[in-house]
Symmetry: C2
Subunit: 111 residues, 2 copies
């Protein structure tokens, strides 16, 4: 127990904000500068920059500053731990509903 998984903490936390998810959406199409990323969001730049910081701290994006422009790109493989956690869970409860008969399953299906 108490097996701290700080990685998952950071990742889920990073994903819990709509602005940040929108940034990831955008970056899925290809790299972009901080300014480009900020444009669609009605928010002061320094506020926005914090979101970039959170995403980078979680490892979901990486950034390179060239001249005065910081370019951000996605690190898709960082979704892996999240993916893993979810599929582990799916297996856990599927294994469990397997152990229950189909009657019990149908009861659970009420949700």
């Amino acid at each position: 127990m108490a097996k701290r998984d700080a990685d998952l903490d950071l990742l889920f936390q990073a994903l819990s904000d709509p602005t940040r998810r929108a940034v990831l959406d955008r970056l899925a199409q290809g790299p972009a500068s901080v300014g480009e990323l900020a444009a669609p969001h009605d928010m002061a730049l320094p506020s926005f920059t914090k979101h970039i910081g959170v995403l980078e701290a979680a490892g979901l994006i990486r950034t390179v500053k060239k001249g005065r422009v910081r370019t951000c790109h996605l690190v898709p493989k960082r979704y892996q731990p999240v993916d893993d956690w979810l599929s582990r869970h799916r297996k856990l409860w599927e294994r469990r509903t397997d152990r229950l008969g189909s009657l019990a399953q149908s009861l659970y299906r009420k949700d």
Copy 2:
């Protein structure tokens, strides 16, 4: 833009805490009372109860109070929005790396 998806906010937020993830782990094996769930966590009960509240608010668990015991059970299908978001993203960037040639792909593979 600014398409608030409060559901995902709540879900990712709920999943961002190790105590709460541990509770979900436990509940994947079957229902349990608040007391049983709290036992492995070195934490005062009222603190723990808040976590239960967060999980319930996110819809990840449901609880029934019978007598003085509140029993909690998992609502597995609530993982669905999270799952959906992730697979949408996987598709997005896979589609993109498809558009790039294999040379560009190999460059990206550096991460």
